[in-house]
Symmetry: C2
Subunit: 347 residues, 2 copies
């Protein structure tokens, strides 16, 4: 056969479909896939097109990775912990309780070998993934009643996604799986006692403050959750090297961009929520300590029984100790001083 001209080989027309796990109403998280598609299209003069579909449009939100692995679509934008039921190892590079903050997990992804380690695991599923967004530390969610002791968690019906429920069960909490649109009525009726969602900006849209005013922090199960772009491995490997490189560059830019968007929007939403009656409450040290202990029990079980989980988690754990040694020096003291000024009205 005739050799194609060099220019056609290096910049071929490629059209991919990307299924998001998120509804369009989440402009922050859902929007990140649109931003990726736009950047890729612009950089290739429209030769590499990624068509973005919201969760449920062509694939249910929680099956996005399955669809990309099967080649039904070439790409998805999802969170690894949605698939923890297949194997808890899926969750580790996304978020597990008491893991790294947004800055920490990104340092691990990009310079601590995290991207390669996760892809070693995902290759067995037929996928290649790169970080594609972070929300920062999430809030602990909305509670109808105050939670003062570990005892108060017992029997509490809480809508909570993913792997975190497994840890919470150890404390007697009863995790509920409820889709986004169904949470508000369940909370209003008292079918559930509490729900977590994301943080002020996304939470405000769903109006939970009207029916469950106690807004707890921090969301210890999502210290810096990573949303991933996942690609069908064969489709990714069939791309010319230039497109692969561009995709990695664009993913890293979008990963940063989502956190930046949250960091800009969350403060305004928090002010508005508090003005509308949300009651901010910290989880007590006693509760956090009990949750930390429960999480460590789950990790010990999984490290003993699941080699993929152990490899990923031990890599994060090693860096986590170093990371929190360093951040308590300059970062923490700078932030503390600035927060004191904020409270004093001096900023």
């Amino acid at each position: 056969s005739l050799a194609a001209p060099a220019i056609a080989q290096s910049a071929p027309k490629v059209t991919w479909r990307l299924t998001s796990s998120f509804p369009k109403s989440l402009d922050t998280i859902y929007g990140a896939a649109d931003v990726l598609a736009k950047r890729i299209s612009e950089a290739t003069d429209g030769n590499f097109q990624i068509q973005v579909f919201a969760g449920g449009e062509i694939v249910p939100g929680l099956q996005a990775a399955d669809a990309a692995a099967a080649g039904t679509v070439e790409a998805c934008h999802t969170v690894g912990y949605y698939y923890w039921g297949k194997d808890p190892a899926w969750a580790v590079a996304a978020a597990v309780p008491f893991s790294l903050s947004a800055r920490g997990i990104n340092a691990w992804h990009y310079h601590g070998g995290g991207i390669d380690l996760y892809n070693e695991f995902l290759a067995k599923q037929g996928l290649v993934a790169f970080p594609g967004g972070n929300t920062g530390v999430q809030m602990g969610g909305w509670f109808r009643k105050e939670i003062n002791t570990v005892e108060d968690l017992k029997g509490l019906k809480m809508r909570v996604g993913g792997f975190a429920g497994k840890v919470m069960e150890k404390l007697g909490l009863v995790p509920q799986q409820i889709a986004g649109g169904d949470i508000y009525p369940a909370l209003e009726k008292g079918t559930i006692d509490a729900t977590e969602w994301v943080g002020p900006y996304d939470d405000e849209k769903l109006g939970f403050y009207k029916v469950a005013p106690y807004y707890y922090y921090p969301g210890w199960w999502e210290g810096g959750p990573t949303v991933h772009f996942m690609f069908n491995k064969a489709a990714y490997e069939a791309l010319p090297a230039g497109y692969q490189s561009l995709l990695r560059t664009a993913c890293q830019s979008v990963d940063a961009n989502m956190l930046q968007m949250y960091d800009y929007l969350n403060p305004k939403a928090l002010k508005s929520l508090v003005a509308n009656g949300a009651q901010l409450r910290p989880f007590s040290p006693e509760i956090l300590q009990a949750c930390f202990t429960a999480a460590n029990e789950v990790y010990a079980e999984l490290e003993a029984s699941n080699a993929d989980f152990a490899k990923l988690w031990q890599s994060i754990k090693t860096f986590r100790a170093e990371n929190y040694l360093w951040t308590q020096v300059a970062e923490y003291n700078y932030d503390t001083f600035m927060m004191i000024q904020q409270r004093n009205g001096a900023l």
Copy 2:
């Protein structure tokens, strides 16, 4: 004249020269320009090449922006506060004392209008700039003697770059401008009493701990300093739209990547520095408060006398108050809990 074929218009051969303000020994900061060049080249199949030169190779490090503005080179990688002597407005989007942290300043750059505001100012200099790296909160530097009171700052000869010196002078400190390679001997001989540089990873290479063991934190004058890629405005505007878009995407990816690299490397370097005798010391609340007051005096003067400075600083200031309201909720409480675990040896 004949119309060029469409493909040639959209992916023309372009070769740019980029002068860095930094020496090659700073693989973190200097390296970011190499990463940008590699990503741009790969994504364009080698059609858009950026040749990177270290500080001093073709242009002195502190004249990088001048060279890009004049069109001597098309691009530079530099820090805005190097040019504060021309006009303090240059410094605001880079770092000024008690400004935003790395996450905060990036939220402002990308979603708070910061990039456009800075470019409004830089357009008058013939430049277009995008964030191209961040170090995180820097350390306060190396001191030959302990600094316990504001009185101890009086007459102290400290090597400190940029705008921060203007604030420190208010406290009686005597800022010294000394190039990187000359700092160690000056510190050893006692010609200067103290120096700031960057943070553990970069500082360790220069060996300051051997001659000035007191390592203070935080570097309140660099809470989240942004390094910028600056482009000759005419050269940037002459690029095809696809290359401009790619350049912006790649800059945002590199901006994130530098911070991620520091966040991964600094903890290891801190451990090593302490093992080698560095003595960690926090600046006292009294000292920080005096520096904050001095900084606010300088800002008040400049806001009254310099419209460009005022526009940029007031935009940051407004967001700064919101940012530190929000971060003291989930982020700060999560980090605090994790740091307690770190100190307890539980991570």
